[in-house]
């Protein structure tokens, strides 16, 4: 028995002094590579169509997003538009874009674009109505959001 007792020495405690450093490193990593979640969905989260020839959005600050999707409530039909955190009408798009232009330089305004994040099943009529509004206020740069499929597929 005495033989075994000798082995019962206490193991030296692992130092946790470097733990904060490790965690901070992770923290900074996540802070740099991620971006803030923009909005909460008031409509059913749009399932984006797939596409291959897509580009990355260059500057998120110069983008205003129009969400189009179905209502959360079952049994309601038609497309719903969400701007910022609210469900909106086509006529609201104009003021939404105007508001997003406030406080930006002329050069930035000319580089601003409107991104449609619309559900696959959206009818084009809704999109066309919004595009008509955008033309009225000279917000001509638009983009259709799509999730990227792999090139070799």
């Amino acid at each position: 028995m005495s033989k075994f007792k000798k082995q019962n020495k206490t193991v030296p405690q692992i130092s946790t002094a470097s733990l904060p450093d490790v965690v901070f490193m992770l923290l900074f990593f996540f802070m740099t590579v991620t971006s803030m979640r923009e909005t909460e969905f008031k409509i059913k989260e749009p399932v984006l169509p797939n596409a291959k020839s897509v580009k990355k959005v260059e500057d998120k600050n110069l983008v205003s997003t129009v969400y189009i999707g179905k209502s959360i409530k079952e049994g309601t039909s038609g497309d719903f538009i969400q701007l910022n955190d609210k469900i909106a009408q086509v006529s609201d798009v104009r003021s939404f874009i105007m508001l997003s232009r406030v406080g930006k330089s002329d050069e930035d305004v000319s580089r601003m674009s409107t991104v449609f994040k619309a559900d696959k099943g959206t009818k084009l009529g809704t999109v066309a109505d919004i595009k008509k509004e955008l033309r009225e206020i000279d917000a001509l740069k638009i983009a259709y959001a799509a999730s990227q499929t792999r090139k070799d597929q």
Binding site: V23, L26, L140, I142, A143, Y144
Partner: protein
């Protein structure tokens, strides 16, 4: 020998604080980068202008999509999405005549599949217009799919030219540009390639029928 040292601050809770922050950022942020197909809307037109430009029919490639997501090209042929790209490539890469702005004949165009120039296809890539007419009932998925195919066709042609002129593909140029935004030389290269095959896509306001 009196030793006065400041009492050490206990750093044991530092890890907890850092974890808390970490978890907050994990929850509150997203990692996905948005990918988009960008297009440009036409300028607002005053109703019924006199000097509306007339385009020769051979320079316009018409795509019609109806409410059942079926596609008709050039008012005469039903095509599936898979076959559209070849048709668009043939149309764009034809180079049957002189281009606009006095650029002369298209020297880099390679013609159709059998390297011949068709009299029904575009004169010059910088004159070639793709006109997309949709119905209000067309689904967004189909619409984006068609735009995707058009984008792919242009990218393929631009890749070819970039490869010929600079030895790198157009997509690589764009990627380099994304990582090196201030590079003027890249800008010029991209602009030149874009001018060879300018993307002219016109969307006709959907009819309600």
């Amino acid at each position: 020998m009196s030793r006065r040292s400041a009492p050490e601050i206990n750093a044991g809770s530092m890890a907890d604080i850092a974890f808390l922050l970490l978890i907050f950022f994990l929850v509150a942020t997203t990692m996905d980068i948005d990918t988009v197909i960008s297009r440009r809307l036409p300028q607002k037109q005053p109703p019924k202008t006199e000097n509306q430009e007339e385009f020769h029919a051979r320079n316009v490639f018409e795509i019609n999509i109806n409410r059942n997501n079926q596609m008709l090209i050039e008012k005469k042929e039903y095509v599936q999405l898979e076959d559209l790209k070849v048709k668009v490539l043939e149309f764009l890469d034809n180079g049957g005549g002189a281009g606009s702005n006095n650029v002369g004949n298209c020297t880099y165009c390679q013609g159709g599949p059998d390297k011949t120039v068709s009299s029904e296809m575009s004169d010059h890539p910088n004159k070639a217009i793709i006109s997309l007419r949709t119905d209000r009932g067309t689904s967004y998925e189909m619409f984006v799919a068609v735009h995707d195919v058009l984008g792919q066709a242009y990218t393929e042609l631009r890749n070819r030219e970039a490869q010929r002129l600079y030895g790198v593909s157009y997509e690589d140029l764009i990627d380099q540009k994304f990582n090196d935004k201030e590079n003027v030389e890249l800008d010029e290269k991209i602009k030149k390639i874009k001018d060879l095959f300018p993307e002219i896509i016109s969307e006709v306001e959907p009819a309600n029928n």
